[in-house]
Structures are given as C-alpha cells and as structure tokens.
Symmetry: C2
C-alpha cells in the first residue's frame, strides 16, 4: 500500500467556496492535518467544521511560536525550521501507508504555511496540492466591487514590509491588496496616506465568513485590528463607458 | 416571481476546481449566459461541458470585436459599450421572472468581462457574484512551485502596458504574474530581460487544463504564443531553513 500527502486549499472561509475536489477530499479523509496556534481551534479546522468523517484521525500541527519572538531573529528561524522538520518526518512516515489530507486556508501556494512542508517533503513521498480561492479574492468580493479593470496593475503587499517600501509600491500600482495587517495597521495607514491612497482604502475582516465587516480604513479604530483583515484599494482602469 | 442574475466564477479551467456553490448553480441553471468570440465555442462554455441541464436555455454573448480594432480607439470603446448596454437590457429583462446564471472564467471581479455588465445592472435587478479561483492561481500550481513566500511583493501586470512601465514594475516586485501576453509576448520578454528577470520566468499555457504546458520563457518560440498563456516569476522570500 502506497500513501501520499494532499494539501487542499480551502478558500477564503465559506465552505461553499471550497472546490468540488477539495470538498470531496475533505469529506473522505481518514487522516487530516492542519496548522494552528496552540490553544486555538485554528481557522483551517474551523472551515471544515461538520465535514469530517466521524472516524477521521486529526493531526493538529501547533506552531511553537508565532508573534512572541521577532520574526527576523535567528531563534525564530531555528524554532520554526525544527517544527517544520519534525512535521515533515511525521507526515512522511504516515504517508508510507496512508493518504493524509493537509488543510490550508486560501490557496496553499500563495503565502501558505504548507509550502515549508512542501519543499521538505520533495523526494520523501508523493505530494499533491489542490488550489483554492485566495483570502484576498474573498475579501474583494466582500466589498461588492471589482478589484481590477483593463490594464490595472495589482500589487499584493505585506504589512510587515518597511514603511518606505510600502509607500513606493502604493504609489506605483493601481490596485492594492495588503495582507498581514494586524499590529502593522497603523503603519499601513500612514503609508497609504503618504501615497495619497488612504481615502480609497477599505478594511475587510472575515471576508465571506460570518461576521464579515467592510469599513473605510480612514474610519477604522486602530486599536481594533484583527489578524484576519485585508486592506484593499480598487483599481479604476479602462472600461468602455456608455455613450449617452 | 422575482428573478435575478448570478455570475459564477468557474476557476482556471479544470471543472473539479469550480467551487461547490458554482457547481450546484451551473448544474441547476435554466438560463445560462456566457461571453465568447463569434464563431468560437468559448472558454467559459467549454469548462461546463457536460454539466448543463438538457433543457437549459443558452445565451451566447458574442463580442462584436476583439483584437481587430485598436483597444484604445474611440470606435472600439463605442462598439463595446453598446454591446454591454444591449446585453444589460436583455439579461435584466430575463431577470424579471427568471434566474440567469452568467458563466465567467477565473474570478469575475479580477479583470473579468462580467464587470461591465455588473456596473450597468446596478439598480435594474438583483445581482450576485460567486468568486472563483483565478487563472493565474491555476497557472502557478501548474509550475508546482509556490508563487510567494514571507514578505514577497506580487505584482500582476498586463502585457498590454507600455514596455517601460513593465520594466519598472518587474524591477520592484519579487513575484510577477503577467497576463494578456499573446501578441505582447516579445515585448514582455524584452522587458523581463531589461529588468534582469528573464531567466526566472516561466510561460504557462492552459494551466489545470488538458494540454497544459510549462516552459522557460527564455526557451519559448515567440511565433507560437497563445492568448491563454500567463508568464510567472516566483518569489524567493523569507523562509526558515533547515538548521543542519
């Protein structure tokens, strides 16, 4: 018997937006693995709530640290690397004789944590990855307005970037999606203001999920910024206007 | 009886990558509308091949022009605007008493043609839009390599942009997705070379579809560049490396 690992993109949060393939794999899974912060239910696990087989065996991959240590420190790097090494071994061992479904929010190849296992698993066992709708796509749908038109340039930025880099990209692109906001939200707001884009910016929390909230970033209380929020600026590119 | 229009994102091409919601709406649809070039089957219609009800009524919205007239000319604008105006009227009339499913490749709010109907339909009838996996997501999965890591900046560019604009964005971003290549492919290749990124660039044709092809852009025969091709440059951002 030959097993394998299949990482399944779950999409932005609404289970109805999972792909047909992801839905089938999740419902049929005997072994399910997912990342989460220790002590939390985990967003990926929450999305598949009510979908798993009763006899499914769950493997919660709990991050040893998240924001307690500076992300660019040597300690953080070493701790995370050994965490990924350890789960690579455990999943590869399971995959000798089992099929393991790894759950991943959004799309696994777009800033996803699974990529750290994906690179390590090469050559150890068969690995397949199923695309998903990205979280930012769910968020721009939450605004009810298209994100890009015609020749618009869309830049995807992380709130963790240096402020001057953010300003530079915000000035050059037409449409913007800014992720990893959270504690970086005050910096992101200052950068948008410096780039002259703050009045066009929206903050979207929990896009496509219960409790979805869409507000102008300029009106946001900066003391209240959840991690699962994305800032969007819509492109206004070329479109054929009605003649009359 | 009150109808409505639901635009459904079909994803990158593989019907198994359609969302559960899109799959259900497409299979149940009594009225189905989709854009296509006159005389062609159309990519959206091809994706749902074998899925439609036998009694489904099809509305092929055939573009009056595509590439025969310069896209920035007043004529092109006027012809397309009246085409969208006409289909807005026809779909809104249908939606008085019917539910109409509009098919859209990829994600409808990401450079999708439906947006031109979406803006015109506001206030005329109920309109819902269902997100889909973008074509570029399908293409980066075709390469088997994650597109973005850590703090990578991803810029999405159109091959129709001026060459100097392309070069500027290609220099600043870590990861790139370049769409609307086709006849612009020689320009895109020159711009990537000028930005020092050509050796990292991949051309992906028909991502997730039969006949999928992934080749280094530097090795591509420029006389053979289909419209449904996307050029990708992968980000190489921060990741915790194995300690040993």
């Amino acid at each position: 018997m030959m097993g394998r690992i299949i990482c399944v993109g779950l999409g932005p949060g609404d289970p109805d937006l999972m792909s047909v393939k992801a839905d089938r794999l999740v419902r049929g899974a005997a072994h399910v693995a997912y990342f989460r912060k220790a002590g939390r239910p985990g967003q990926a696990r929450r999305i598949v709530s009510g979908m798993l087989r009763e006899d499914a065996i769950e493997h919660a991959m709990e991050y040893p640290v998240t924001t307690e240590i500076a992300f660019d420190s040597a300690d953080y790097n070493a701790i995370l690397a050994s965490f990924y090494d350890e789960w690579t071994r455990r999943l590869a061992d399971l995959a000798v004789s089992h099929e393991v479904i790894v759950l991943c929010e959004g799309d696994p190849f777009f800033y996803g944590s699974f990529m750290h296992l994906h690179t390590r698993l090469q050559g150890l066992c068969e690995v397949e990855v199923v695309p998903g709708i990205t979280g930012m796509t769910g968020c721009w749908h939450a605004t009810g307005v298209p994100i890009t038109w015609g020749d618009d340039v869309l830049s995807v930025l992380m709130g963790t970037l240096p402020e001057e880099d953010l300003v530079g990209h915000m000035r050059k692109a037409h449409a913007l999606a800014i992720m990893k906001t959270g504690r970086n939200l005050p910096k992101v707001r200052r950068a948008l203001a410096a780039a002259g884009r703050l009045d066009e910016a929206w903050l979207v929390e929990r896009g496509t999920m219960p409790g979805q909230r869409v507000i102008r970033l300029a009106d946001t209380d900066l003391d209240d910024c959840p991690y699962f929020a994305i800032v969007l600026v819509h492109g206004q590119g070329r479109r054929p206007e009605a003649a009359e």
